[in-house]
Amino acid sequence: MNRFFAFIPLIAFAGMAVYFWMGLRQDPSAIPSQLIDEPVPVFELEPIRGFDQGLSHADLEGEVVLLNFFGSWCPPCLIEHPMLMQIARSGEVPIYAIDWKDEPGAGAAWLERHGNPFVRIGDDQSGRTAIDFGVTGAPETFVIDREGRVRYRHVGVITEEVWQETLLPMVEALKRS
């Protein structure tokens, strides 16, 4: 019996090591979205400077789409941008965007410089729509189904890997269903 007690610290250590190791593999900044399988929040945003069309929740219904939150102030968005351009060129899924808390005109200038992969863009200067979506940082991308329900949220940059292994299969499955 006493011999068993001698092993308690070792067992406790092993348990904690496994637990912490699991914790290391999780992204602590990824707060689970409250919107999964819920309809997109109601919003109506003005166009960014130089564009005719703004964006509202109704625009996101009818087909499977991606909704991307970006800002010209956001360095990771620039890293993500070529991937969004590639997705737009592929024609797999239309990408809508919300320009989050940008200076007037800054988002438009940014798109002018780097190319515009977006079908329509809404200007969220107050940041309220981002809060309604539970956005914690840019870039963030939502997969929205035909009925206008949020099906998935990706936090951070869409890499080639994320696109090929997660988003594209999901978009294809949603288009088939």
């Binding site: 602590p28 979205s33 808390k101 809060i131 539970g134 914690t136």
Partner: protein, 150 residues
């Protein structure tokens, strides 16, 4: 001239949307806002409340809190508004529910476990010391003799 200036400046004060760090007119409301700031987690910085964070999103969230309060929401409704968007995560004080049972229960488990262990230890001390068997006693005696300790 002076009345005109006062009129203009008071109009400007009324017209301005509530800035995040602007003090609200009603001190009771202000107090509630401050307390709510401390109960909501900044979702960018996470270990800070929105009251202690300067992140732009925290500023926006403070603004939302003020707007909800001015719209007449009670404290629960304001917290609920945020919880609807950001989940339980946004609350600095996690609610007691199935998936947080272990979190809340852990301190009690540790305290009870510790008390049990301490109890065990004290009880073990109380036991009369073990006596050596006759052969062991003889062995010990002869060893002591050898060393000249007796």
């Amino acid at each position: 001239m002076k009345p005109l200036l006062i009129a203009i400046s008071s109009f400007l004060l009324v017209a301005a949307a509530p800035g995040p760090d602007e003090i609200m007119d009603d001190p009771a409301l202000e107090q509630r806002a401050m307390s709510l700031y401390d109960q909501l987690r900044c979702v960018v910085c996470q270990s800070q409340s929105i009251g202690s964070s300067d992140a732009p999103l925290a500023v926006d969230m403070r603004l939302v809190v003020r707007e909800r309060l001015l719209a007449g929401d009670d404290d629960r409704a304001v917290l609920g508004y945020m919880q609807e968007r950001y989940g339980d995560y946004v609350l600095m004080r996690p609610p007691l529910q199935a998936n947080t049972l272990l979190l809340w229960g852990m301190p009690f488990i540790f305290v009870i476990g510790g008390v049990l262990l301490a109890f065990r230890y004290v009880r073990a001390q109380d036991k009369p010391g073990e006596t050596l068997s006759k052969t062991d006693q003889a062995k010990a005696d002869s060893l002591m003799k050898e060393e000249g300790l007796e």
